[in-house]
């Protein structure tokens, strides 16, 4: 008879796993890619493919060089690749993601200790790096979406969903993102292009606008995000507190006078929804305690609005998340969950941040 396995309890576990979560998140990101391909053409597919391939390749090379186990099957490198491509303008050179992948996977992830030990979201770290290294590509290589009339049935469908006439003045949709337009020329310029009310919100929500590859459709991202919530892979705490803070602060300070800003527009434009559901909720780089998550989400929202309204960039989600990444682990230590027996002394808790480092002995995690 073959020998029996002996191990410490529990002997059963649920069916969730890190790879399953990663691949599910990748799947939830796919619908918006479809729409972006329709709007911007096949090159966005090429960009995503190159981004994914280079992230996977860099991870393999790093893990080989660092003599670690090859873990590309867990889907985390693929997810980083997809997310990195999603925050690129659709017309950047096709080699750009390769630089990004080195930054994301080599410096951002493997040098930090691999999955679970990175402090910053690798995809956003890559974007930040590309922003300073290739500012022209990253801020002006936009593509105007294909004219609705050229899209046939799909165009009519988008128009219908947007509640706007299918003869929308496409020429007026310049190749600057809505946030750039707003930042440079004010809200009126945006109204001139998209109209007001339902037409404006509709085209933003459904996704007929200029922007990064993955930012087009709030609707499709939201559906993906809600699916992840339904699967309990992410909780409401970070997305709701982050978007709520963006909406609140924009309403307060975003208009010519106090309390005249447009909170809905703030959420629907730029990377707010992509960031809230897919970037800020990254397990490794966000707090794990619910209370800490709410503070973290609010912090991201506040920093986003600060950068958008007062900073030098029209969009601030990326930097806001990266900045909050810095204190994510500390937040976990500051806002702890209630214990079953709270009367016991908890004041001697060491700061959680000194375990962020890789265990002293390589392979101790095995």
């Amino acid at each position: 008879m073959k020998s029996l396995t002996v191990s410490i309890s529990p002997h059963i576990r649920n069916r969730e796993s890190v790879p399953k979560i990663m691949w599910t998140v990748v799947a939830c990101l796919m619908p918006v890619l479809l729409l972006s391909t329709v709007l911007f053409g096949g090159r966005v597919l090429a960009l995503v493919a190159i981004s994914v391939a280079s992230c996977v390749a860099v991870e393999v090379v790093c893990q080989k060089a660092l003599k670690r186990k090859i873990t590309i099957k867990d889907g985390s490198a693929v997810l980083t690749g997809v997310l990195m491509a999603y925050v690129l303008p659709p017309n950047v050179p096709l080699y750009l993601p390769i630089f990004g992948a080195v930054m994301a996977m080599f410096i951002g992830k493997q040098l930090m200790g691999g999955l679970g030990y990175n402090i910053f979201n690798p995809a956003l770290l890559a974007r930040a790096f590309l922003m300073v290294s290739f500012p022209v590509y990253m801020t002006s290589y936009w593509l105007a979406p294909t004219a609705l009339s050229d899209l046939g049935a799909a165009g009519a469908w988008i128009a219908a969903l947007n509640g706007m006439p299918s003869v929308l003045d496409v020429d007026a949709i310049t190749s600057a993102t809505p946030l750039m337009t707003m930042s440079a020329r004010g809200i009126d310029a945006l109204h001139q292009t998209f109209g007001q009310g339902i037409g404006l919100y509709g085209s933003f929500f459904v996704g007929y606008k200029t922007g990064c590859i993955g930012e087009t459709s709030g609707l499709l991202l939201l559906l993906g995000g809600l699916f992840l919530m339904w699967k309990k892979y992410i909780s409401w705490h970070i997305p709701v507190s982050m978007l709520g803070m963006i909406a609140f602060l924009t309403w307060m300070f975003g208009g010519p006078t106090l309390f005249t800003g447009d909170p809905l527009l703030a959420i629907l434009s730029g990377g707010a929804i992509l960031g809230a559901f897919f970037m800020a909720t990254d397990y490794v780089t966000s707090p794990a305690n619910k209370f800490a998550q709410i503070v973290y989400g609010m912090g991201i929202g506040a920093l986003t609005v600060l950068i958008r309204l007062k900073g030098g960039y029209p969009e601030g989600v990326c930097y806001a998340i990266l900045l909050m990444n810095c204190i994510a682990i500390a937040l976990d230590g500051w806002f702890k969950r209630k214990r079953f027996s709270p009367e016991e002394s908890q004041e001697t808790a060491p700061k959680a941040d000194n375990v962020a480092a890789k265990p002293a002995k390589e392979g101790a995690a095995a």
Partner: protein
Amino acid sequence: MSALDKLFTFKLGGIHPAEHKELTEGLAIEQMPIPKEVAILLGQHIGVPCEAMVKKGDVVTVGQQIGQVTKGLGTGVHSSCAGKVKAIASAGHPLRIMAPAVIIETDAEAIAPEWDTHEWNDLSPDELLDCIKNAGIVGAGGAGFPVHVKLKPPADARITELVINGSECEPYLTADHRMMLEDADEIIIGIQIMMKILGVKRALVGIENNKPDAIVKMEKAAKGKEGIEICALKTRYPQGGEKQLIEALTGRRVGSGKLPASVGVVVVNTSTAFAVYEAVVLHKPMYERVMTISGKGIKRPANLRVAVGTRISDIVEFLGGMSEDTEKVIMGGPMMGFATSDLSTPVTKTTSGILFLTKDEVDLHEGGPCVRCGWCLNACPMGIEPKEIALYVEAGKAKETEPFGVKDCVECGCCAYVCPSKRPLVQLIRMAKQALRNK
């Protein structure tokens, strides 16, 4: 109004694993015949093992005391069969790997004893307690705490309620369920005896609502019995955890490192209540118990009444053998039980079940790095921080883990159950406990 109308539960954390109780919940309790040889472990309770009262060659009878406590906490051990002592030797122990045991060659000719009923109403609490002490009853829940000690709380503790744990929250196990269906009246008498010993007016019986028939049966048995309330519990693991159960039924939280007596409660299992009935009314010592034999690996799953000292291999033989793809043999439930690779290990007074789990039933994933998802934090019923403790232990800082609540850990396994990285969290927490003990 039925007890099922109102569900009680604990507040913090918890999980709901697949129950798998359908394998055995409909099967009546069977008596397993005495095997040719039994190995009765001398250490079946928390604390120092008993000293053997018999020697090689002695003839013993059913229920004869063969082990006595010589120091510290503990309770006696009794023979589960008639026969001759073959040796005092070491045998496999579910927790301690190898431990001393009395090996008895059973007498196949011996006639099973009859246990007459005795009147107990006239006995004083101390006399009742003596009956329990003499019967060698330990808490059937798992830890093996001597029940006569449990029922004699410190003088300064004012006990107001007796809580009876009929939750049986571990997957697969159905022994308590079957006992409540088949021996409800006896369990209620056991509860009344313990109420008298403790001098309490109120007993709360908690049963998970995945056993509605047991709830109905127990309600019927408790009808007209002063102070016994049957309460339906939400099916949620670890509903039967002592502190969780007390919170669910009384709303009181037992503090860190404190005993249930600190909030005026004593907790015992339903099967313990049955053992108390047997000890007091039948004068029958605790030498056999009901256990669930289940899992896809065993040919014929069953609820068996097994003599203490029966080896796993004898049970396997009685139930038609185990399948080739059995991956793990577990004494106890799948969440907190102990895996064993030695089928000659005998069952003890605390063995609530033996599970033969196949590859597709157990989890054999290798653990990965912590991704800080926080699922363990939400699952932990004690509200401690499994992920931090595990990271500290891995980083060689096990001695610094106390502030994360290591000492509150009841090793229920919820954290490891939900961990998507399949990390051995319970194991790492145990290492932290060990390090703190040695500090």
